[in-house]
Symmetry: C2
Subunit: 321 residues, 2 copies
């Protein structure tokens, strides 16, 4: 069984081969640019570990692993356009370095490539594999649509928030567990356990993302600290704070967000308010709850293999950016 760093290298090598075509340069160069910036490759690694956990060969899962990373990267490129994000991993985003057309098109091209790789997977029902992949992609689009719709709404509930992040973030990570389980020839029960493992890790991952925006070191984050607040994103933190704040605190928070532009000094005030309303603690609790539910899924899998997936949880717990 290969170590995580070896799996990451195998995935990276295959990704770079997938995007090596020289022309048209405005299609393939942005793809190389974004993959060369690196990344943790958590999704393909989860897919490969899930396959291994059932005794499957990671070589047979490698094309599907590449497919989920290509698909994930497509969502990053298009989301950066929609969210007007100027930097990613410390470098200009594609629509900033080139333009919006190049970003749209290189994202579209990655979707084509991701299906192409997915359907190379041997020994599985391709129709089912492709159908799960397509439904996950559609859910991701639904999640992003909800996220954008929330920007102009003040009455978003915590339930609506959890529905949104389930679609936008958890679906794809759940898919990684599920596909890995299918390729590893798991029983329906095992495949479901791997799906649920990914799903709850995905929810935890998104809550952590919301937290890191305000708690992380900016240099490590690779993007502006407090950018969610400046963009008035309806994160778990903001929604909880709006709900839990005392009347004067709520008034202050709304005043900050009603400004045309939120300044950095406002971000500091909002952070203090998040502390006062125990919002940071609330989000940390929700994060740990979902980590715990994910961990429980491992009991539904062969015990000898739980170790590598436990290690995967650790990768997420240790994330600082």
């Amino acid at each position: 069984m290969r170590r995580v760093s070896e799996l990451r290298e195998a995935v990276n090598a295959r990704i770079m081969a997938a995007v090596q075509k020289p022309a048209p340069v405005t299609l393939y160069e942005p793809m190389r640019y974004i993959f060369e910036a690196g990344g943790k490759r958590l999704r393909p690694i989860l897919l490969l570990l899930s396959c291994q956990a059932l005794g499957g060969s990671e070589n047979e899962a490698l094309d599907a692993a590449v497919a989920v990373e290509l698909l994930h990267t497509f969502t990053l490129i298009h989301d950066d356009v929609m969210d007007h994000d100027d930097t990613r991993r410390g470098r200009p985003t594609i629509h900033k370095k080139w333009d919006v057309s190049v970003a749209i098109l290189s994202g579209d091209g990655l979707v084509a490539l991701s299906y192409d790789y997915l359907l190379r997977t041997p020994g599985v029902d391709s129709a089912r594999l492709g159908s799960l992949f397509s439904r996950a992609l559609l859910e991701v689009c639904e999640g992003q649509a909800l996220d954008k719709e929330f920007e102009s709404r003040w009455n978003v509930t915590l339930d609506e928030y959890f529905t949104m992040i389930a679609k936008k973030t958890a679906t794809l990570i759940a898919l990684c567990g599920e596909l890995g389980g299918m390729i590893g020839k798991g029983t329906p029960e095992q495949v479901q356990a791997l799906h649920d493992f990914g799903y709850h890790l995905g929810i935890a991952f998104q809550i952590q993302d919301d937290l890191l925006d305000i708690t992380a070191d900016e240099k490590k984050l690779g993007k502006t600290w407090g950018s969610d607040i400046m963009r008035k994103k309806k994160t778990l933190l903001l929604l909880h704070a709006l709900k839990a704040a005392s009347p004067p605190d709520r008034k202050e928070l709304e005043a900050v967000l009603r400004q045309p532009t939120v300044r950095e000094s406002d971000v500091q005030r909002v952070k203090a308010l998040f502390e006062r309303t125990k919002t940071i603690a609330f989000a940390r609790e929700r994060f740990l709850e979902h980590i715990e539910v994910a961990r429980l899924q491992l009991q539904r899998l062969p015990s000898a293999t739980a170790a590598s997936l436990s290690h995967f949880i650790q990768l997420i717990l240790n994330r600082h950016f």
Copy 2:
């Protein structure tokens, strides 16, 4: 065997069912909006006729037919953003009626739906079906990338133009013939004939598109007359005219195109120049050549069935918008 209008209705009914989901409203409403505007549905009809031509059941091809129209519509939505087109079929484009984010996302969602429908096709090798579909999608992206790259280049050759339209337009129409042939259980030779039939019709179709921009009735066109010239698009007409023009004509044409904004009066001058350089006649000849090569492919198919595909050629010849 059903008539073309019945096939179109069957496709439309299934498309509307595919996009009926009420929420998120910013994802599905733009999809309904663009399909409700109508359209000739040439691609799905070609796919269904190709299947029928080999004695296949059009019901088995209906999901794939829906898939190609969903995919085609996704390209329209994203291309309209990239080309800054404000109207389509006489109505505001999605990024104009909503915004760029909504256009990006509803296009992305259509890709997911198109694969979902494609992979419902019974009785075929799904991996092969999906792989052909993905490669066609990637070619379409390459074609659009080349088209955009040509905008800032003056030395585009006619060969480069034909490579671009082969990828951007002909590939998807060739795919319709090919998929229809596969679902109709054709021999490799028959499937290839249907592929080539679609390919040459596709080339002809794009040349016709370039011609209609300058020869069509604006109201029927559903977009601004002469918009290719105003956008300085490297169409077959422009490339031929630049090549065939006398030195003073070439100078005039370059002067028009070097202006920051091309006015409507300039379009009239360019049209006259296209006539003088026999550019319109040249493009008409290339159009008819490819129609003829398409027609020749029908000899490679069972003769009893050539009639409906001949009729399909007529649909294209009669196109005025």
